[in-house]
């Protein structure tokens, strides 16, 4: 070991069985769980304390959100495929699948944009009611997470993919880590969808 270089950036440490970034992303996701957990708890507290809370489907568009749920789930599948392609040494397929993942993310955002716009046209704003406030805040924050994921994946699709030719293992790890994040974002939506739209 050169004293200058940081160990276990690519290979696992034998006694922990993990490389650095993998622990890092799990810790980060733990903090994200606390963030969304706090927001969900706030939602529960506000709903329990309110006298008239509307049912989600009477205000929100369930078919559109169902479509969006499908889109996100598909993107999680393509994300796994992208990682598996690298594991199988198939760089072409990797770019295809990662490209599809980014595309799905964008579709999700565009659909969400239309949904927001429809609400505004019906004069439904965050300030209209606490239900709308919860809806816009939670989906907005989730949307920001989607944007973050798209940026990261787009980077690994473009300039970041060059790493394949020098440090293939390291790129594979990075895609695994970015995939874990992406699945989390997907998972948050799978919670949000029934909580906001159905219950």
């Amino acid at each position: 070991m050169m004293p200058d270089t940081i160990p276990y950036t690519t290979h696992e440490r034998p006694d922990t069985g993990l490389y650095n970034a993998k622990i890092g992303i799990w810790l980060f996701l733990a903090s994200e769980v606390m963030l969304f957990g706090a927001l969900f708890s706030s939602y529960v507290l506000l709903r329990v304390g309110s006298t008239n809370w509307p049912l989600g489907h009477t205000i929100l568009n369930v078919p559109i959100a169902t479509f969006n749920t499908m889109v996100l789930i598909s993107s999680s599948v393509t994300m796994v495929m992208a990682w598996a392609s690298l594991k199988l040494n198939n760089f072409k397929k990797y770019r295809l699948y990662l490209g599809l993942t980014v595309l799905c993310g964008l579709i999700f955002l565009v659909v969400k944009g239309f949904e927001y716009n429809a609400k505004f046209e019906h004069h439904l704003f965050p300030s209209t009611s606490t239900f709308m406030a919860v809806y816009f805040t939670l989906t907005g924050l989730h949307g920001l997470h989607v944007i973050g994921g798209i940026i990261v994946n787009a980077y690994f699709l473009g300039p970041g993919s060059k790493m394949w030719f020098k440090e293939p293992e390291r790129l594979t790890n990075r895609i695994e880590v970015s995939g874990l994040y992406w699945h989390f974002v997907d998972l948050v939506w799978i919670f949000l969808f029934p909580v906001l739209y159905l219950l």
Binding site: P7, E32, M34, L35, S42, S127, T130, A133, L141
Partner: protein
């Protein structure tokens, strides 16, 4: 001094000093910035102490520089007092103590003590510092916003904070940056400690300081996000007109508010204290870590009950997440909930007492070296003890009814954070300065710093408890002058204020010492001037890029002092067993 220096690649000024990714430089950046913020936060409180001691009298000399909006004719306005109070709390906690304890000491010392070449993610480390820096700048700039800085206390309780001036919005943005910074730091610390321990450095051979930083990092990681959530909700309330924290039927200055309503001010308190109680352990655990290192080194004894101390600090970390509502007994949340939080609060005092007792027992029969770091570490013990014991009544709802929001509370937690944590941080500065610079801080100036500070601290915070028991509320702009029940203890305001200014004067020897010793302090003759056992003393002085000139291996526990039969009274961790 060692002459090893293998950092062959010379880097530009910017890469070395400003946008460095070396944990030691980042630690120093954190150190300097947070010391400046600590001093600034102290200046704010010195201004407040004038108003408390001499309400309504113009502030001498400097009063006229604060402008008509804050101090017309040099007399402090209540609005300005509120800004000073809120920003004092915020700056001391989030920009002073935590960045110094974690960002500076943690960053500099942890990789050295576990034998790592750097932190696991050097670039994130740099990003963490700059997020902190920007958060600090946002807070400072907010003083110039229309209506001034945040003025709803460091707790920012709504509905008041929701309708407060623009400074509150900047406070929220600043907090989001600071939370981001501490999140990046926390991930980095945990990964570093788990992954980058050198050969032989098992968990049970880690110094107590590293344990303290590990638990602290977990607390930061998991407790801050709920505050971030709360911050987002409050930003929505302030900017998008939502009513998360605004109940229906609010009337302001006779005008009913036109809002959708239905929100809950109590929700904020829950989210806020879910962070802010664990936060007090973020303020105290690294301090305990430093004190443990200094005490083991200067008693020349292993820490008594080290395993129990480690178990205690882990239990403390867990329990700190389920005591938050002991700050909310008076909100009417119900006796059952109160009973739960009273129980957990009493439980959490046990591990704290164990740690403190272990440190006390370590002193027993040691041949103690009374140098400057040790004096501060020793003073930490009774001061933190007073702070902790005075907290017990606050944990019981029945006593808290009387004491809540009085100066007793202010006195209690300042004993913990000022003569407690701050003294521990001073101990750390005196202790590790020779490793960073190759020179010792001057001992005489150190004593001149220590004794007046110790005396002044007690003259500031002990009278606060007396006032609080007499029923004087905190956050009063006139220090209680307009209340009949406060008249008997009003004279103490002058005592406390004079002591606060004396405390400022007592810092002058320290500031002189710091700058003078960097250039002209006594040079250390070895890499291990205190004859310590932990790994940071096995590096060259100052440690070069990459820290260790040869790979290190650890063969023994962290505190092998005065081992019977050993050649010397200390056996470094990297000394092979024969």
């Amino acid at each position: 001094m060692s002459d090893t220096n293998h950092s062959s690649h010379k880097q530009s000024f910017w890469r070395t000093y400003i946008f460095s990714t070396d944990h030691k430089m980042i630690g120093l950046q954190y150190g300097f910035t947070s010391l400046i913020f600590l001093f600034f936060g102290f200046c704010l409180v010195m201004l407040m102490r004038w108003q408390l001691a001499f309400p309504g009298q113009p502030v001498p000399f400097i009063g006229k520089f604060f402008g008509e909006a804050n101090m017309p004719g040099g007399v402090m306005l209540p609005e300005f007092y509120n800004q000073l109070g809120a920003m004092h709390g915020t700056i001391m906690v989030f920009l002073g103590v935590v960045p110094l304890a974690v960002g500076a000491f943690g960053n500099y010392i942890v990789p050295l003590q576990i034998g790592a070449p750097d932190m696991a993610f050097p670039k994130l480390n740099m990003a963490s510092y700059w997020a902190y820096f920007l958060g600090g700048v946002t807070m400072l700039v907010s003083f110039f916003a229309p209506g001034g800085a945040a003025n709803s206390g460091w707790t920012s309780y709504p509905p008041l904070s929701n309708i407060a001036t623009m400074g509150q919005t900047m406070w929220l943005f600043g907090m989001v940056l600071l939370i981001t910074s501490s999140l990046l730091g926390a991930v980095n610390f945990i990964v570093t400690i788990i992954q980058l321990r050198t050969k032989g450095m098992t968990f049970m051979r880690m110094p107590f300081f590293v344990w303290a930083q590990l638990v602290t990092a977990f607390i930061l990681l998991l407790a801050f996000p709920p505050l971030e959530a709360a911050g987002v909700l409050q930003l929505m309330d302030r900017l998008a007109g939502t009513s998360f924290f605004m109940p229906s039927g609010l009337v302001i200055s006779g005008q009913p508010l036109t809002i959708s309503g239905g929100g809950s001010p109590l929700l904020w308190q829950h989210l806020f204290w879910f962070l802010a109680h664990p936060e007090v352990y973020v303020l105290i655990l690294p301090a305990m870590g430093i004190v443990a290192e200094v005490i083991a080194n200067n008693t020349r004894k292993p820490l008594w009950g080290l395993r129990m101390m480690i178990a205690s600090i882990l239990i403390l970390g867990f329990l700190s997440f389920i005591v938050w509502a002991h700050h909310m007994y008076l909100t009417g949340m119900g006796t059952v909930i109160s009973a739960f939080f009273q129980t957990t609060t009493m439980m959490i005092s046990i591990p704290s007492v164990i740690i403190l007792s272990s440190l006390f027992i370590t002193l027993w029969g040691g041949s103690i070296r009374f140098n400057a770091p040790m004096l501060f570490a020793l003073a930490f013990l009774p001061m933190f003890g007073i702070g902790g014991l005075t907290g017990l009544p606050l944990g019981l709802a029945i006593a808290d009814i009387h004491l809540h929001d009085t100066y007793y509370v202010i006195g209690h937690f300042h004993y913990v954070v000022a003569p407690g944590t701050i003294f521990a941080l001073f101990a750390g500065v005196y202790y590790w300065f020779p490793k960073v610079t190759g020179r010792k801080l001057n001992e005489a100036l150190g004593r001149l710093h220590f004794w007046p500070s110790l005396i002044a601290m007690n003259f500031i915070f002990m009278p606060m408890m007396i006032q609080g028991l007499a029923g004087v509320s905190r956050r009063l702009y006139d220090g209680g002058a307009s209340y009949a029940h406060a008249q008997g203890v009003l004279h103490l305001n002058v005592v406390m204020s004079v002591a606060a200014w004396a405390l400022a004067i007592a810092q002058i020897p320290f500031i002189i010492n710091l700058f003078w010793s960097i250039k002209s302090g006594e040079r250390v003759k070895s890499d291990n001037p205190w004859e310590a056992t932990t790994l940071e003393w096995s590096t060259p002085t100052p440690p070069p890029h990459g820290n260790f000139s040869t790979p290190v291996e650890v063969y023994r526990g962290p505190y092998e002092y005065s081992v019977p039969g050993a050649q010397k009274d200390f056996t470094p961790q990297d000394q092979p067993k024969v």
